[in-house]
């Protein structure tokens, strides 16, 4: 059961930055679990359980999301393409 005041945030982490993001999650003691691995796209879905009352948890989430967004900007620029040929 999910503890009170805890919200679940699902983030999609590209494998290139997986280690960097997991380091943050572990260092900041964020409760987490691997929700899914999208092997065909090199993406790992991780669920984070954040305490809504803790400002630090919000800052950690913002930190992680900005890293992912920045990477996605460099890697994809536009919408992510799944079919290479057509």
């Amino acid at each position: 059961m999910k503890p009170r005041n805890t919200k679940e945030e699902c983030i999609k982490i590209p494998t290139d930055i997986l280690l960097d993001v997991l380091t943050i999650i572990v260092k900041e003691h964020i409760r987490h679990e691997i929700a899914d691995v999208l092997e065909s796209r090199g993406i790992v879905k991780v669920s984070l359980y954040l305490n809504e009352n803790l400002l630090k948890h919000q800052k950690v989430l913002h930190n992680i999301q900005s890293i992912i967004d920045e990477y996605n900007e460099y890697r994809y620029s536009e919408t992510e393409e799944l079919n290479w040929k057509d």
Binding site: I17, D20, E39, G42, E70, Y71, Y74, W84, K85
Partner: protein, 225 residues
């Protein structure tokens, strides 16, 4: 062996040779007494009394135990973490003059060649990056990409690229590695297509730079000759 307790001064039989106090409570009371004699305690306001009550009794101790210690909340400054890979991509894009050179190429008389090549190279790089992230890549698909790259390099547009065009060595390096891989793995149906970190960062950076000038085109919609 008998010793004198350093807190209550009573004589007691020692269980360990290094025992100093007769009981746990004496050890704790002595600790509290020691703490009380320290001149500065964090968060303590006002003057330090000249005399300190160091004779803590059991009653006082239990009272202290029941009291909730309220530590003032301090605003903890959160220092955001960085990403090593992102920093490497940043460094590659910021320190390199390639983007500037590409911009110059597109303002020369040979800009048609730059545009023709750039459009195709962007498409091929997108495909390569996609394959590098997939669990497996079919060898036939990699060969198709490798052949397209060969055709681009042999094309008259590639031959007529301005001298300034800054990506020739990158493209040749990628082409060489892809061709070697295809030759080595031609007997299998699919492989894990992975790149060295440095190569991947370079391709991400080149793709990003191409994206500033060339539209995204589908592989099937382009001719490579």
């Amino acid at each position: 062996m008998e010793k004198e307790c350093q807190h209550c001064k009573k004589t007691f039989t020692v269980k360990r040779i290094d025992s100093v106090y007769c009981s746990r409570s004496c050890r704790q009371l002595a600790y509290i007494a020691r703490k009380a004699t320290k001149p500065k305690v964090m968060g303590m306001e006002g003057e330090i009394p000249s005399t300190l009550d160091v004779n803590v009794t059991e009653d006082k101790l239990s009272q202290i135990r029941q009291e909730k210690i309220i530590v003032p909340k301090q605003e903890q400054k959160y220092v955001p973490h960085g990403s090593r890979i992102l920093n490497l991509i940043h460094d590659r894009i910021n320190d390199d003059k390639k983007l500037l050179a590409l911009n110059t190429c597109l303002n020369t008389q040979e800009d048609i060649h730059t545009y023709w090549v750039g459009l195709r190279l962007r498409c091929l790089l997108e495909c390569l990056l996609l394959f590098s992230e997939a669990k497996f890549a079919r060898i036939s698909d990699l060969m198709e990409l490798c052949n397209a790259l060969t055709q681009v390099r042999k094309s008259r547009h590639y031959q007529n690229l301005p001298e300034l065009f800054p990506y020739k060595s990158t493209i040749e390096n990628v082409h060489y590695k892809l061709r070697t891989l295809c030759i080595k793995a031609q007997k299998v149906e699919q492989i894990k297509f992975s790149m060295k970190e440095q190569d991947k960062i370079e391709l991400i950076a080149v793709r990003y730079e191409f994206a500033q000038f060339f539209r995204k085109a589908k592989f099937s919609q382009l001719d490579f000759e």
